[in-house]
């Protein structure tokens, strides 16, 4: 993986760090392109049934949830055009590596035909390989999976695991059961076999532990609670005890909620450890060891030292936070704005902006 040199006239933050952007979203330029990638058997199926699998409970307040300036000149959707993405993201910010996460799936709140999902995932992954990874060395891929079906997911992982341009396995946070559930364990088995992190990304499923909220604002912020439930599950089910080398990346969930959750789990564990005798360590120890998080969307506390205090309060964060922009979404984090006021020391910022991701993904 090579890094391009940042442009000479960019400010110092770009000259001294080769950024790794751990969350960039691509999408098909058109339905036609996608159809051509599907095997014949699924093209007919898609024509009849695609509409039944659309999921969009909370309309985004902008089309495609994208920055208004991220529509390529050809009118295709944001994140669909390589040239435009190179220009607006990679070259503009001197990004040395961007990890792609296509937010494409065929499922609606649990309704998922697993073989259709698997065919679709394969099509997305092959398209990523040929239209993106093959055309720009700065790009890395995520293996999109039909994750509700472990067997089919294992097959898709095995198909691509040896392709070094794919750097992680990809699932969405809104699963039908919490991700610690044993039905998902074959995925983790594959992950440790091939030493691929499992990236859990925001999206898909907006219910809460108290039913369905009303607004996109709640859906957007509410993903943080989904991520918390996933962490609780992964820890308490003993996923990290069973798979000690498993690496989980929480993508686009924020991160400031992590220390309070770790403290809560430790307190619960004080009294309820007999419920989970398979855990040999305290929950916070598993969290510190096995979980990485991308930065965007940063909680941005008003008090200037609050983020530094947060990282100090849970020291593992220093080695686990990884910068992301979430391009092309509306809440894109610009590299020269994000964390600028955080009072984090330069050494920590270097880790966050490229060091931790380089180490995790082995660039």
């Amino acid at each position: 993986m090579t890094f391009t040199r940042p442009k000479e006239d960019n400010p110092s933050i770009r000259a001294t760090t080769a950024l790794v952007d751990c969350d960039v979203h691509t999408t098909f330029p058109s339905d036609k392109v996608m159809m051509e990638l599907l095997p014949e058997r699924w093209r007919d199926y898609h024509r009849s049934f695609a509409d039944a699998y659309v999921s969009s409970a909370y309309p985004r307040t902008v089309r495609n949830a994208a920055r208004v300036d991220s529509w390529p000149p050809n009118g295709a959707p944001p994140g669909s055009d390589l040239n435009f993405l190179q220009e607006q993201l990679l070259d503009e910010w001197g990004i040395g590596c961007a990890i792609l996460g296509p937010l494409l799936r065929v499922a609606r709140s649990g309704l998922q035909n697993p073989e259709y999902a698997a065919a679709f995932a394969s099509a997305v992954n092959d398209w990523t390989a040929s239209e993106w990874l093959a055309k720009d060395e700065r790009l890395a891929g995520s293996i999109v999976t039909p994750y509700e079906d472990s067997e089919l997911t294992v097959a898709e992982i095995e198909r691509l695991a040896l392709n070094k341009r794919f750097v992680q396995i990809y699932v969405l946070v809104g699963t039908s059961s919490p991700l610690g559930n044993r039905k998902y364990w074959p995925i983790y088995q594959m992950a440790v076999r091939y030493d691929l992190p499992v990236g859990i990304h925001f999206g898909s499923g907006s219910a809460t532990g108290a039913g369905w909220p009303s607004y996109y604002l709640e859906d957007h912020c509410g993903n943080a609670q989904s991520f918390q439930s996933q962490v609780i599950s992964l820890v308490c089910e003993g996923v990290f005890e069973r798979f000690p080398t498993l690496k989980i990346v929480l993508i686009e969930g924020g991160f400031a909620w992590l220390p309070p959750l770790a403290w809560r789990l430790d307190r619960a564990f004080e009294r309820l450890h007999t419920d989970v005798p398979h855990l040999a360590r305290r929950p916070s120890e598993y969290i510190a060891e096995n979980i990485w998080l991308t930065t965007q969307p940063i909680e941005e506390p008003k008090a200037p030292y609050a983020l530094k205090d947060l990282v100090d309060s849970f020291p593992a964060l220093e080695d686990k936070l990884m910068f992301s922009t979430d391009y092309p979404h509306w809440d894109f984090d610009a590299p020269d704005e994000a964390l600028r006021k955080s009072r984090l020391p330069q050494e920590t910022l270097s880790k966050i902006f490229h060091g931790n991701a380089q180490k995790l993904y082995r660039f």
């Binding site: 307040t61 809104g174 919490p178 809460t208 957007h220 609670q225 308490c236 403290w263 307190r267 909680e299």
Partner: protein
């Protein structure tokens, strides 16, 4: 050891096989005698305990308060009220040492509760009954049981102990029926709150819940959201977890959902006089949660135009949290102090022992130690006294009623 205890006429439930019963008996005796404000050098001030849990032992207790129809139903059918509890008595987190009465339901014995929770320095204790009315899917049964519980609370709690205040138990799953129950008993001076469980079928800020909040406001009652809730729907955003510890730990995520719902749905705009208390939340998720919500609101507020100022402003005006149990690391006092400041300080927090649930003493003591004397006075009673509009006169009224 057991023989000795039997001779004393006590039965104890051993929570942990490693407990030294003799030592714990001593510790409990000392606890019974000392004030809860075991803080050396603090100002002498009357305590308000904003979170004490009274519980219904069995449906039999409620029989005198049920109509003939429901008595007959209890006697003839398998119906015996809610068949689940928010705090299952034998769970290691449900009962603190020495708080288990002979009937096996902590918080159900007023004498034991009074001895253990109403120490000499306690001016008022606010009862929070977490009976799982929402687990009763038959709406008429739910309403009948809730009414019986409230009549039982009046007769056997409020009228017996003037220092107690209580929360109205309602069928929260049906806001209209809940409003009717609030109207029925809401004027009793002993009731200061309406109890709502956290895991409702839909977030409580939604329009569907307006009748409940309207009734609470009309009768000048705080709405108190407590850990629990049995809507029948999955207990997390991502389906059903496996272990009890996940259920317990996950409650904080639902508290976040509910705070968010109330703020963005404009509940406090619709009901400017509404006061909401949140219990058993753990508290420390609040600063990061509010930063996130304030930030996202800036970009996404077109759908919620009634939210005229940043959501955290409404939170500070209308919502309060109790202090136990607290999710903090107990060694780092500077961090605890910083978290306290970020949470909004003593104006936001009300002392609550969470009796009879397990006492997380290390967390409690660490937190209390970082307060200034003024903050201590607020937390230990001032904030609750203001929030619940408590007056000494109310105590006499409830005894006379």
């Amino acid at each position: 050891m057991r023989t000795n205890l039997a001779q004393l006429g006590l039965t104890w439930f051993v929570q942990n096989a490693k407990l030294d019963l003799a030592a714990d008996l001593g510790a409990t005796t000392r606890f019974l005698e000392r004030g809860v404000t075991d803080q050396v050098g603090r100002p002498k001030t009357a305590v308000v305990d904003a979170d004490v849990h009274n519980e219904v032992p069995t449906i039999r207790t409620l029989m005198p308060y049920l109509s003939d129809y429901w008595q007959e139903t209890v006697n003839s059918t398998a119906f015996d009220g809610a068949d689940v509890r928010a705090f299952p008595p034998r769970l290691p987190t449900s009962t603190r040492t020495g708080a288990m009465p002979p009937n096996g339901v902590p918080g159900s014995d007023i004498d034991l509760l009074t001895r253990q929770a109403l120490g000499p320095d306690v001016e008022v204790a606010i009862l929070n009954c977490t009976y799982a009315v929402d687990a009763i899917h038959n709406p008429y049964a739910a309403a009948a049981v809730a009414a019986a519980i409230n009549d039982w609370q009046i007769a056997e709690w409020l009228e017996r102990e003037p220092r107690l205040r209580a929360s109205i138990v309602v069928p929260s799953q049906n806001p209209e029926l809940a409003a009717a129950e609030i109207a029925r008993v809401g004027e009793h001076p002993g009731f200061v709150q309406v109890a709502v469980p956290a895991r409702t079928a839909m977030p409580i800020g939604r329009l569907e819940f307006h009748p409940l909040f309207a009734a609470a406001v009309e009768h000048n009652l705080v709405v108190g959201v407590h850990a629990g809730g049995f809507s029948g729907y999955p207990t997390t955003a991502v389906g059903w977890p496996t272990y009890c510890i996940e259920d317990y730990a996950g409650m904080s995520t639902v508290m976040q959902t509910q705070v968010m719902s109330m703020l963005v749905e404009g509940l406090f705009v619709e009901f400017p006089k509404l006061r909401v208390a949140m219990f058993d939340t753990g508290c420390t998720w609040l600063p990061s949660f509010m930063s996130r919500l304030d930030k996202d609101w800036k970009g996404l507020r077109r759908e919620t135009p009634w939210v005229l100022k940043q959501p955290s402003d409404y939170l500070r005006e209308h919502i309060r949290f109790t202090t136990n149990p607290l999710d903090i690391p107990t060694q780092d006092m500077a961090l605890i102090r910083a978290l306290f400041d970020q949470m909004g300080g003593s104006e936001m927090l009300m002392h609550g022992t969470d009796y009879p649930h397990w006492e997380f003493k290390a967390q409690h003591d660490a937190f209390m130690s970082i307060l200034t004397d003024d903050e201590y006075v607020d937390v230990i009673g001032g904030t609750a006294r203001t929030f619940y509009q408590l007056s000494p006169q109310a105590a006499r009224n409830s005894a006379d009623a």
